[in-house]
């Protein structure tokens, strides 16, 4: 019973981190049809900036979080103009994979050059270090915070995409880019904004998840497979699909590691293959699939 509760809390927290990072990938993949393997590198960049801001500059946690997200978005926007624009919607997945792997390598090398190869931490404020009581049980405050942040992201994104002008234009551009452009929607700007949204979510997840996905230079390569798995299972472009997939995979992975630690990642990937074999387009058909 104790372990089931522990698995649920850790699994959901882990799933929420996966969701926050992956949904950014899902949104950009759904709109621009780019398999962006550098997404993990953007998450890592956010984490490193926050770590630097908190540890070396001494900013409080929330300020470091905001600075990290803002700086990551600012730093990556030129990439959209210079690089990503050339591979949007291209039928050639290969050049997308290569360009973004190349970008990942450059970021990994750059991070190592700037911050060194050691593990980086983002110190948590006192407010987040204790536990909160949940009925008869107590769960770590940080876990609760992460779960809350994930839920807030889910609601916020839903509101943004379903209820705002931006969301309406975005969905129009996804469904039929040529028609949207003909109707006067400035798709280039829309792409830029969406790219910024995706990167910002990556950075947010990188900062919030630093406790669960430790920050080191190979972060970008180590975890991108996880993020892609969430998007593939959830269906590209589907917010609720990403959330469901992230939670399911997070809980499966955590349960596997708790209950059968000898098998490590085996269950995660076995589940992935079974799911994708049965639903090749993911649980929820996204807007493009």
């Amino acid at each position: 019973m104790e372990s089931i509760f522990g698995i649920a809390v850790d699994g959901i927290a882990y799933g929420m981190i996966l969701f926050i990072i992956s949904v950014g990938l899902s949104v950009t993949l759904g709109l621009m049809r780019v398999v962006n393997l550098a997404h993990g590198a953007f998450a890592m960049l956010g984490g490193y900036v926050a770590s630097y801001a908190a540890q070396s500059v001494g900013l409080p946690y929330v300020a470091a979080l905001i600075v990290a997200v803002a700086l990551t978005v600012l730093a990556t926007l030129p990439l959209e103009r210079l690089l990503y624009r050339r591979i949007y919607g291209s039928a050639n997945e290969l050049s997308q994979v290569l360009l973004t792997i190349g970008l990942t390598f450059v970021i990994v090398a750059g991070i190592n050059y700037l911050f060194g190869p050691t593990l980086k931490r983002i110190p948590l404020p006192d407010l987040l270090t204790g536990t909160v009581a949940l009925g008869p049980k107590a769960i770590p405050t940080h876990r609760a915070f992460v779960i809350g942040a994930g839920a807030a992201t889910l609601v916020g994104l839903w509101w943004l995409l379903e209820r705002t002008d931006f969301g309406i234009r975005l969905r129009a551009a996804v469904d039929d880019p040529a028609m949207a452009a003909a109707l006067g929607i400035r798709t280039e700007r829309l792409y830029l904004a969406t790219f910024a949204l995706g990167t910002g979510l990556a950075a947010l997840g990188g900062v919030l998840g630093a406790e669960l996905l430790p920050l080191e230079p190979y972060y970008a390569i180590r975890y991108i497979v996880l993020f892609l798995a969430v998007v593939a299972v959830g269906g590209a472009g589907s917010i609720f699909g990403s959330a469901a997939a992230a939670l399911a995979l997070g809980i499966i992975d955590t349960a596997g590691k708790y209950l059968i630690p000898n098998f490590g990642e085996f269950f995660f990937y076995a589940a992935l293959i079974l799911i994708l074999f049965r639903w090749p387009h993911g649980f929820f058909k996204g807007r493009t699939a």
Binding site: V225, A229, L272, G282
Partner: protein, 340 residues
């Protein structure tokens, strides 16, 4: 669903490359050149035989990826699954039953082909991102199984104690690596010849057809998926033999031989050299591993940054890889000589 098919169809129509026949084809000279360059390297660089051996075995692996990607259009990040399986199969056979190098290669090829056949039949109905994910997942599972089957594979310590018998009973594997290198080079050249035969066969042409336009292939009565599965299995044999070749020549097999980074590296090497040309795989491997050898001595991260920039540059400026650059140069020179 329909809109995706339509869009993909349109996009493919726009980006379709020139038909292979019209491209300046340097293929006929490629294999003798590889053999000659390999032998020249044997005399010119006698101190780097270990590196050269690794290059030859890796080139065979990259060649298998070229078959899948360059001729079948299957973008995969899990080719190392077959390489690792072949390497482990060869190692296990050598340690437990028979250490003849050819038996080891056969075991590796068989194992790699089987894994490719089974997983290919399972995953090749998917396209795009889903397929990429599935190939990655297969690779991770193979690696995880190799890690857990400690009694057979040595787990994370790797499988060691592989001691191959002399080639044909005559040539002993010496500690300087002379035999190992010549053996690896011979296997690579034979592999290139076989691969050339395959891609020029009706089967190879049908696979190309599937890559260019699967709809048309099914319209004239072929089954795109079975062609792709067969091609995947054939490439699996090549990858398995390449894995077995590293087991024979290095005497050890490690977990990283099945890992995701090794698949990604092979992809990088292939693209560096140029897809869809058999000798492109060899050029790419030699260039990548040669530069790596020189640069990585200082700091592995600098090397990563360098290769990353290089990749970005290739995608933006030289989509066909080094081989296409060579061909373009060849085309320019040819035009000058012709005076046209």
């Amino acid at each position: 669903m329909t809109s995706v098919a339509e869009r993909d169809g349109k996009a493919a129509a726009v980006t379709r490359p020139l038909p292979p026949g019209r491209r300046r084809d340097l293929g006929w000279i490629g294999i003798p050149l590889v053999a000659a360059a390999g032998l020249a390297a044997y005399w010119l660089l006698p101190d780097d035989l270990a590196l050269l051996t690794r290059i030859a075995a890796s080139a065979l692996f990259v060649l298998s990826l070229d078959l899948v990607l360059g001729y079948g259009g299957i973008a995969t990040l899990g080719q190392a699954a077959m390489f690792g399986t072949g390497a482990y199969a060869a190692g296990i056979v050598a340690v437990n039953w028979n250490n003849d190098p050819f038996v080891m290669l056969a075991a590796g090829g068989l194992a790699g082909g089987l894994v490719a056949l089974v997983t290919g039949a399972l995953i090749l109905h998917a396209r795009g991102l889903t397929l990429l994910m599935l190939t990655i997942a297969v690779g991770q599972i193979v690696q995880e199984v190799a890690n857990k089957a400690r009694d057979w594979t040595g787990g994370s310590d790797g499988l060691s104690g592989i001691d191959p018998a002399p080639v044909l009973g005559l040539f002993r594997f010496d500690m300087f690596g002379h035999t190992a290198y010549l053996f690896a080079l011979a296997v690579l050249v034979i592999g290139l010849l076989v691969a050339r035969r395959i891609v020029r066969s009706p089967f190879g042409l049908a696979c190309r057809g599937v890559k260019e336009d699967p709809l048309r292939i099914s319209a004239i009565g072929g089954s795109p998926k079975s062609y792709l599965v067969a091609l995947y299995a054939v490439a699996g044999v090549f990858a398995g033999v390449a894995g077995a070749l590293t087991a024979v020549t290095s005497g050890i097999v490690g977990l990283d031989s099945a890992g995701f980074p090794w698949s990604a590296e092979a992809l990088v090497m292939l693209v560096l050299g140029g897809t869809g040309r058999l000798y492109g795989a060899v050029i790419g491997t030699a260039a990548f591993m040669g530069i790596h050898h020189v640069l990585a001595a200082s700091d592995p991260f600098h090397w990563m940054g360098f290769i990353g920039l290089f990749l970005i540059g290739i995608v933006l400026f030289l989509p066909g890889g080094i081989a296409s650059g060579v061909e373009r140069l060849g085309g320019l020179l040819g035009r000058k000589e012709g005076g046209a």
